[in-house]
Symmetry: C2
Subunit: 335 residues, 2 copies
């Protein structure tokens, strides 16, 4: 492992051994339907509370990723995971079942890449052989916690996003495979004094642009380096702001998409300006991106997962909403 520039890291031999993508009902009907390993027909995922449903999604994702390998639970030396719930309670409660050392991380919706960045250290230095990175979100746990009880039936502006019900798991390993995690850039907290909690995409866009610019500067590369540059979850509103900021930086992104725009069929599904939540970037990564890399349809992908770092308490104090974005680059190993 080597530090590159101000905020980036170059990894040696960090392989992706396995990945999985488990979702709720709405995601199964969206654009990613062909990349989902398992899904539930109801939001409760056969559990008695929304939190327990989300715990089940994480547990399913973990076991689903393991089942694609010859590993058993004992072979996983560390789990790095996180979610959006207060005190990341879903990740912690999921880990009650397993006798595995556990590191909890929080980066709001950027947790998908943050967990992989923390894990990659242990793999790149070969001190651990197999580490599972797990992230999740759930529409109903998020609605109740961040917005209003769904029973209230409040109207929403079009700039809001729909929290993805889903969980993704990546198993990073020193064992060779055909996909590698090659680079990362750790984000800074960026606050542009934006206060609308109903438009988090716009709140996160400056942090996302900041991390992309830093990534290019640190590695002295440009957009042509990647087959696909993915942000997430900026959605319709945030993506536009993000691209506008990049214009100021004189950065062009010909092969660009946003995880929030990829999860659902925005024309047919009622999801306002797109998908969001920790699970959003996580299922796009562990479902779509990994499959495309495996099949050779993509060769090198940069994922910049974005997070809005607010809480309900601080919003009530009329504070602005800062954002953060952590990037990882994945590459198909050419034989």
């Amino acid at each position: 492992m080597e530090k590159i520039g101000k905020a980036s890291f170059l990894y040696k031999d960090v392989y992706l051994k396995s990945s999985s993508c488990v979702t709720g009902p709405k995601e199964k009907e969206g654009n990613l339907k062909d990349y989902i390993d398992k899904s539930y027909d109801t939001l409760d995922c056969l559990e008695k509370s929304w939190e327990k449903a989300e715990i089940r999604l994480q547990d399913d994702a973990f076991n689903c990723a393991l089942n694609k390998t010859k590993l058993c639970h004992e072979d996983i030396e560390l789990v790095v995971s996180g979610d959006l719930n207060n005190q990341i309670v879903v990740s912690s409660y999921m880990m009650r079942k397993y006798q595995i050392p556990y590191i909890g991380v929080y980066g709001a919706c950027s947790t998908a890449t943050l967990s992989m960045i923390v894990a990659a250290n242990y793999i790149s230095t070969k001190v651990c052989r197999n580490i599972a990175c797990i992230t999740s979100s759930h529409y109903a746990t998020s609605e109740r916690q961040f917005r209003y009880p769904t029973e209230y039936g409040g109207q929403k502006p079009i700039s809001t996003t729909s929290t993805v019900t889903g969980s993704g798991c990546s198993i990073l390993s020193t064992d060779k495979s055909n996909i590698k995690v090659i680079r990362s850039t750790i984000g800074k907290v960026v606050d542009h004094d934006y206060q609308d909690a109903q438009d988090l995409g716009t709140a996160m866009a400056p942090a996302c642009a900041n991390t992309l610019k830093q990534h290019f500067e640190d590695f002295q590369i440009d957009a042509s380096e990647y087959d696909l540059i993915l942000t997430g979850d900026l959605s319709t509103y945030g993506s536009k702001v993000f691209l506008d900021i990049l214009k100021e930086y004189q950065i062009e992104l010909p092969k660009y998409n946003d995880c929030g725009l990829m999860v659902y069929d925005l024309k047919k599904q009622e999801v306002y300006s797109g998908g969001s939540g920790c699970g959003c970037a996580s299922i796009v990564l562990n479902g779509y991106v990994i499959k495309m890399l495996e099949e050779g349809l993509l060769n090198k992908v940069l994922l910049i997962a974005t997070g809005a770092l607010f809480s309900q308490t601080i919003i009530c104090q009329k504070e602005s909403i800062p954002g953060i974005a952590h990037a990882i680059a994945l590459e198909r190993v050419r034989e």
Copy 2:
């Protein structure tokens, strides 16, 4: 860096360059008064909300630790921090001021050691030179979030603890100093089906015993290895349960104390069964322990910070309270 046994790591050349300890009024009147760098006379720390008060404590701790060195903010390559607030909002908002890559971690009150474990990776492998680890808690943010509004004036059972108002910062570095971080053990989530959120010490004690046992097994050492073994924050109730479990494991701890019992003067101050919160282990470590190591009054210390991994939502669902404990060992460098 080397992995030892099932859950432990041995570090090479991870030095503690500087540390600081900033508190509220009650802590200044407690047992640690001689080890505090800065304190406030009122709980609001001259700010307009409890959250902003806690942000100020973190910011003070960061700057106070920096001021003891020749480093400036730009020399800190990464900040790893966390707190107890929903979405660790205090840590994130503190970082708005600084252009420094930031990793947010959550391990409830075990965050003090968890942040150092995540940071030590980057130092031990020499990819970063200086990293700040910051942790905080605040009596009033915690009371409102986890218990009742203080205005309600509800009575408490004696088994409850008082959340410490304070923040500690450790700057880990590759530059030689007279204190080293030498070992760590990452904890597992341990759930003994205990449900009383008014007695978190008892809820966390099994996880603490589990991590200590693992640490001894992994390094093939016993209690005689250390001058002092510190747990925290188990308090009066939890410490007793912890020592009872150790008896079953046939482990004796002649030189033992608990951070929750050290912060306040339990005979004079009204703090129920002791101190708690992320700030508790953090100020004991960054105040008392570091000073004792610097002065040669202690040579080798093991700190097992403990966390109760619940949220208010999951408690309302009648779930039990799992615990986790992460350990780090510090050693005075002998010339």
